[in-house]
């Protein structure tokens, strides 16, 4: 199927007092309608900077320094800000990690979801109200006629995230970007929210980017996966292929460091040694080489290109 969103060699930097920080370095991926892509990385990997670049919501110190973001054939980096406003929220919507800080505490949830609708569409008061109720019902909020008068603090974290999803989907976007939507939630509530996103994604044929640090979530909910490390793509494949045949040593290390839940005794967890490198002064060559168990001197010399090692399975590593 044709790509709906195509990110090509995206580079994003933050300009700080200490110098330029390359947060995203030549990141590429494509997103198809009806597919959910997991964008995986630890802190400093550039996963949030990537999606903020797509939304053109980078903070003032951040700037896209290269690449293209093609949405329905047009480069989002080249459209004017007024035009971007007709895309952002309406065609590409986003939900964030912390639903409490993304909702305005002094307005009812009904008025906030309603505002999201009226920002992009001209609807009458009555029509807006009906659509708000419909949106809240769609995300599994019971008794939405009554709940539209609630303020955010009256809702639990899981309910707030449902409201955020309702708001994001109220204008029928084609792309939904979910940035760690369940990190702040308990595990049983996390399962509820992820099931909801997956169900809506299938029903509405949404293209979803799910930003997460949890490979378990990717395995269970995503179709495709892009693994980031220190601003670079390390590996890219379908979920099925990646978990069956992980190739990049970083991906392997991540998978091995996750404890199982089978209760079987193991002496030690396989830990990746060392720390995540500084974004200000990343190591030369492959960013992962100082922590890599199979690194050779050449790994420090040149940045490995992302190559197709198996059909539709891309890996950035000269050792595989």
């Amino acid at each position: 199927m044709a790509a709906l969103l195509e990110v090509k060699s995206l580079c994003t930097s933050f300009f700080t007092d200490a110098g330029e920080v390359r947060a995203v370095d030549r990141v590429s991926f494509t997103l198809e309608p009806g597919k959910l892509m997991g964008l995986v990385g630890e802190s400093g990997s550039g996963k949030t900077a990537t999606v903020l670049s797509i939304m053109r919501l980078l903070p003032e110190s951040g700037r896209v320094t290269g690449g293209e973001i093609l949405f329905a054939g047009r480069d989002l980096l080249k459209v004017s800000e007024p035009e971007m406003r007709t895309i952002r929220g309406a065609k590409i919507a986003m939900i964030f990690q912390e639903p409490m800080t993304s909702l305005n505490p002094v307005f009812t949830i009904g008025s906030q979801v309603g505002e999201a609708i009226r920002l992009h569409q001209r609807t009458s008061r009555r029509e807006t109200r009906d659509r708000v109720i419909e949106a809240l019902r769609m995300v599994g909020i019971a008794d939405p006629e009554r709940r539209i008068g609630d303020y955010p603090h009256q809702l639990s974290g899981g309910m707030r995230q449902r409201v955020m999803i309702a708001m994001a989907l109220s204008c029928n976007p084609q792309v939904l970007i979910a940035d760690e939507p369940t990190t702040a939630l308990d595990v049983t509530i996390q399962a509820q929210i992820l099931e909801l996103i997956r169900e809506l994604q299938e029903r509405l044929k949404l293209a979803v980017i799910l930003v997460t640090h949890d490979l378990g979530i990717v395995n269970e909910y995503a179709d495709d996966v892009t693994i980031l490390y220190a601003a670079r793509v390390m590996e890219q494949a379908s979920v099925k292929e990646l978990f069956r045949n992980p190739m990049n040593p970083y991906t392997k290390g991540l998978l091995e460091s996750i404890p199982g839940i089978d209760g079987k005794p193991r002496r030690r967890l396989q830990a990746i040694p060392g720390a995540i490198p500084s974004a200000l002064r990343p190591p030369p060559g492959c960013r992962f080489h100082p922590r890599c168990p199979i690194a050779i001197p050449q790994c420090a010399e040149a940045d490995p290109p992302l190559l197709e090692k198996v059909l539709n399975h891309y890996v950035a590593c000269i050792r595989v």
């Binding site: 509530i189 509820q192 839940i261 396989q270 830990a271």
Partner: protein, 343 residues
């Protein structure tokens, strides 16, 4: 200097506990916090029952994993055991001594033997103190070492947690999250504790760093013969390190069992739901995910009977009326459930 030398005196067995293997004994512990009143003029005061009648033992040298979601009371229980907060009723025994009967000085002396490692390595270290002062503070307070001896001890502690002596003269912000957690662990171990409450020690860390810290904690436990209470919100993290695991829901322990039992033969529907909610990297398709409806109710007004019944897919009439007791048919696996009692 040997690391355990300072604790020789403290670890001398006390007459009445000589027979008891448990280092920590918790008996019917309750903690209620005031939660305002029903209405503006109402006299009825509301309370949050954060911990509602918990009894458990922690054996010497073991790790007890304590798992619960937010609002379950797990952190409150950890702080009650350390007596950082006073229980409403019930008692905590440390090595045969009832903490509530200790004098202020006695309690202070005991503090040295019980330490806490916090979840957030960013906010739990004073940003204005150098690592030397952070790790050395406990040594000073408890007058364990001074001068060159103190310096040597600090270096030794830092090396023990995998950091170099050069860390001494630096500030917390110069370190990554994982390194800060190492400093927090060194601080806790400075006073030679026998018991450490680890309150979500890896929750704020990146996956690739979590395993390092868990391995470190395990090595230190072996080397120093430590007893741990490892608090977590996720069964995945405690799996590796715990000998036994306790599951907490709305202030109560609903299941407690040896590690293998909890994962291979979970009984309580809440335990099973928690286990099945964990997204796994397993390639096998998950057989059945137990979906829990709704969310944890308010501990101000917990449900009648079994407090889990409104969300339980197996709830029966009796679950709404009678509270199930935490019981084990034989030995070590205890469950509080009418429908799925211990086998």
């Amino acid at each position: 200097m040997s690391l355990v030398s300072g604790s020789d005196q403290a670890s001398a067995p006390i007459a009445e506990s000589a027979t008891a293997a448990a280092l920590i004994r918790v008996e019917n512990l309750w903690k209620e916090f005031p939660a305002g009143s029903e209405g503006l003029l109402s006299r009825t005061r509301l309370t949050v029952k954060a911990v509602a009648g918990v009894s458990l033992d922690i054996q010497r040298g073991e790790t007890l994993g304590l798992v619960g979601e937010s609002g379950s009371g797990k952190s409150t229980l950890g702080r009650l055991i350390l007596r950082l907060i006073e229980p409403t009723r019930g008692s905590v025994w440390f090595d045969g001594r009832d903490l509530s009967t200790l004098s202020r000085a006695g309690l202070r002396a005991l503090r040295r033997e019980m330490q806490l490692v916090f979840q957030d390595p960013y906010s739990s270290l004073n940003p204005r103190m150098k690592v030397r002062a952070i790790v050395g503070e406990g040594l000073e307070i408890h007058q364990l070492a001074r001068g060159p001896e103190k310096e040597a001890r600090i270096v030794q502690l830092l090396e023990m947690v995998g950091m170099g002596a050069d860390a001494m003269n630096r500030y917390p912000h110069e370190f990554s999250g994982g390194q800060r957690q190492r400093i927090g662990i060194a601080r806790a171990l400075a006073v030679n504790p026998r018991f450490v409450v680890l309150d979500e020690p890896v929750s704020a860390l990146d996956v690739s760093i979590q395993a390092q810290i868990i391995n470190l904690l395990q090595d230190l436990q072996e080397k120093l013969n430590l007893t741990y209470l490892f608090i977590a919100h996720d069964l995945r993290v405690v799996e590796h390190i715990s000998r036994r695991v306790a599951i907490m829901y709305l202030g109560k322990i609903v299941e407690i069992a040896p590690r293998e039992e909890i994962y291979a033969n979970p009984r309580h529907p809440y335990t099973r739901a928690l286990l099945s909610a964990i997204p796994t990297i397993d390639q096998k398709v998950k057989s059945e995910r137990i979906k829990l409806p709704g969310e944890m109710p308010s501990p101000v007004n917990p449900p009648s009977g079994c407090s889990f019944h409104p969300r339980c897919p197996y709830a029966e009439e009796r679950c709404k009326i009678t509270e199930p007791k935490l019981e084990g048919a034989r030995g070590t696996h205890k469950v509080a459930c009418h429908v799925f009692p211990a086998q």
